[in-house]
């Protein structure tokens, strides 16, 4: 018996992707700091289609957060162009095109968990009845039912992060931007949340941009993996996953999975220069 390991192919050409949600071309961002300019992003060309799950992986300081923040219009690029849902990033933000999950939970300590999830709904002027319904639904989704009346500081770090994910899901944006959302959690909780995230993605047709440091996490979750490297921050490799959309946790032991993981590792090594 022989197992055929398909060669992961590199796909980057923009023309192949239909329904683009994010289109970045020649994107660059240089921070002016006291020690001179820092080139956080250089020449990033990237197109992400509707319904994709794209992971960004790379060593610390390679501009993953910066890229996500540019997409979210929290940072303005200094060169190149970025389109979100076919409009400028600023217009997209004003149209509440995306939910953003930060590296830390950033819950408001004076609001209960339910109150925190309600925050974007209040700002967007959603009716009280609808708010209650959505709070219940999203807290169910992240397994936090029963904690509505608790305050964030009464919850563990993992529960806080799940509450912040519920908050990002509550207003049902089609695009989710997640910056190392599970970085601070232990392996078991992480696996569990990964599964739930995949399940959610499978059900809802959302487009997800996901920053991570973990190769298995990136391979397990993504339809495409964007490998980045620092100084200047740039995209060095884009790996298309051949895994099926339906992914049980033990898919991580299959040769196919391991082959993609090895491919990502090679990409990271190639982009990582050790001269300093």
């Amino acid at each position: 018996m022989s197992i055929v390991i398909p060669e992961p192919k590199q796909v980057a050409a923009m023309s192949e992707i239909k329904n683009p949600v994010i289109e970045a071309s020649k994107l660059g961002l240089t921070f002016q700091t006291n020690d001179g300019p820092v080139q956080a992003l250089a020449n990033v060309d990237l197109t992400i289609g509707k319904g994709e799950f794209v992971s960004f992986i790379g060593p610390s300081g390679c501009g993953k957060t910066t890229l996500l923040r540019v997409i979210a219009d929290l940072e303005k690029p200094t060169s190149g162009n970025i389109l979100v849902n076919g409009m400028s990033a600023e217009k997209a933000r004003e149209a509440r095109a995306y939910g953003y999950v930060f590296q830390a939970a950033a819950l408001f300590p004076w609001r209960t968990i339910a109150g925190n999830v309600a925050l974007p709904l209040e700002i967007m002027g959603i009716s009280k009845a609808e708010q209650a319904e959505r709070i219940k639904r999203t807290l169910d989704l992240v397994n936090l039912s029963g904690f509505e009346k608790k305050y964030p500081w009464q919850l563990s770090g993992g529960m806080q992060q799940r509450a912040s994910i519920a908050r990002a899901l509550a207003f049902d944006a089609d695009l989710l931007l997640m910056d190392e959302p599970f970085g601070a959690l232990d392996e078991i909780v992480r696996d569990h949340l990964n599964e739930q995230l995949l399940e959610l993605w499978g059900r809802t047709e959302k487009t997800i941009c996901f920053v991570t440091h973990s190769i298995p996490e990136a391979v397990y979750l993504s339809t495409r993996i964007v490998v980045m490297s620092p100084r200047p921050g740039r995209v060095t490799d884009i790996i298309e996953s051949t895994l099926p959309r339906e992914r049980p946790l033990d898919i991580r032991e299959t040769p196919e999975f391991l082959a993609i993981a090895a491919r990502v590792r090679d990409g990271l090594r190639a982009g990582h220069s050790y001269e300093d």
């Binding site: 929290l74 933000r93 004003e94 995306y98 408001f108 300590p109 004076w110 925050l119 700002i123 500081w153």
Partner: protein, 376 residues
């Protein structure tokens, strides 16, 4: 098992009793050669030495505290009652015995603070009793020292006569409190804090105002604003309005500076979060920045509660109708009625503490989430 557990306070109190026996009469003899209250001396000694001894046995903490409490305070009361009427005659044993009683009270407080109870009421009561005993002993020592050494009334009256003066002049004190606190202080405080808050928000909205106002605000906060009181009296007349004006000026800048600082206190990530929701200025202000600024704003409210009282009282020194706490202090000092001055000071201290306490309670309720309140 050892049935003794001596504490250093009890041992020292016992030694002080012995020393007082060895050092002669408790008070100087009067003209007729009679030694005053020598008769109660045995009782006082027995109370202190007895309480000290009992406290050294292994008994329950409550019982020990009770014995110490009774011994110390009864002895102190007998001593002070004895010296009353023959002020200035106290000799060394008088002070030795007061010191011994004080040590027992110290031990009593130490025992009380070590008690751990489950019930909420009991621990609440303990939290009140300890500072009360503490405060009582400040008064006891004050009373014993002024009467024992016969300190002239003009310099420092004993607290008991201040208390008598307060009870006898309640209507006057009430009128003064009404004039100074319920008119000048409250009005000025509300307007001053409110205006400081609103201008802070205006300064936040209009950047050039922030850059212009903040340095001035910081500078003015450091100035002795009370110096403007005579000018305010010229502008707004003798009645409480001019005092309220002083209070407004004094409370305005601390509120302004603190609110502006507080509005900058919310984290970057939280503000970015609001941006991702395309939240407008007012939504971000009310849902994020004001709640985050609440600890700073309450800080200003507490500072201002003290400043307002000082401002109103001192401003009355510069002209006022014949009522008001500051007016009373400045006139009664001139008429050598020092006990009345102290009575006003005591009332001002009480009112100030109450004012501060109410603001602090509201703060606890409003900023329950802050680490300093929730104790995390």
């Amino acid at each position: 098992m050892n049935r003794f557990k001596p504490s250093w306070q009890a041992v020292l109190a016992f030694l002080l009793c012995l020393a007082s026996v060895a050092s002669g009469s408790i008070a100087a003899a009067d003209a007729a050669g009679v030694y005053p209250y020598e008769g109660t001396r045995g009782l006082i000694l027995a109370l202190i030495a007895g309480a000290a001894l009992v406290s050294m046995f292994r008994i329950s903490a409550i019982l020990e505290a009770l014995v110490l409490f009774i011994g110390a305070h009864l002895a102190a009361w007998l001593l002070i009652r004895g010296i009353a009427g023959v002020e200035g005659t106290a000799k060394a044993p008088f002070y030795l015995l007061i010191a011994a009683a004080w040590l027992l009270a110290w031990r009593c407080v130490a025992v009380l603070s070590s008690i751990r109870t489950g019930s909420k009421q009991a621990s609440m009561a303990l939290r009140l009793i300890v500072p009360t005993i503490f405060g009582a002993w400040i008064l006891i020592i004050w009373e014993a020292a002024t009467r024992g050494a016969g300190i002239p009334f003009i310099l420092l009256p004993p607290p008991s006569s201040i208390g008598v003066r307060i009870v006898n002049s309640l209507p006057i004190l009430a009128a003064d409190v009404n004039q100074t606190i319920f008119k000048a202080v409250l009005f000025g405080y509300l307007i001053g804090c409110g205006a400081g808050f609103l201008v802070a928000i205006l300064a936040d909205r209009v950047p050039f105002m922030r850059r212009g106002l903040l340095p001035i605000g910081n500078m003015v906060s450091a100035l002795p604003i009370i110096g403007v009181a005579p000018i305010m009296v010229m502008w707004f007349g003798f009645d409480w309005q001019s005092k309220a004006a002083v209070v407004i000026i004094m409370t305005f800048f601390p509120m302004l500076v603190n609110t502006v600082t507080g509005l900058a206190a919310s984290g970057h990530m939280e503000r970015d979060l609001m941006r991702t929701y395309a939240s407008d200025y007012w939504q971000t202000l009310f849902k994020l920045r004001l709640p985050a600024a609440a600890p700073f704003i309450f800080n200003a409210l507490k500072i201002n509660s003290t400043l307002a009282l000082i401002g109103a009282i001192v401003a009355e020194f510069f002209g006022t109708p014949v009522v008001g706490m500051g007016f009373r202090i400045s006139t009664e000092v001139g008429r050598m009625n020092i006990d009345m001055v102290w009575a006003e000071i005591a009332v001002a201290a009480l009112a100030g503490s109450l004012f501060y306490g109410v603001v602090a309670l509201i703060e606890r309720a409003a900023t329950f989430w802050h680490p300093s309140v929730r104790g995390g």
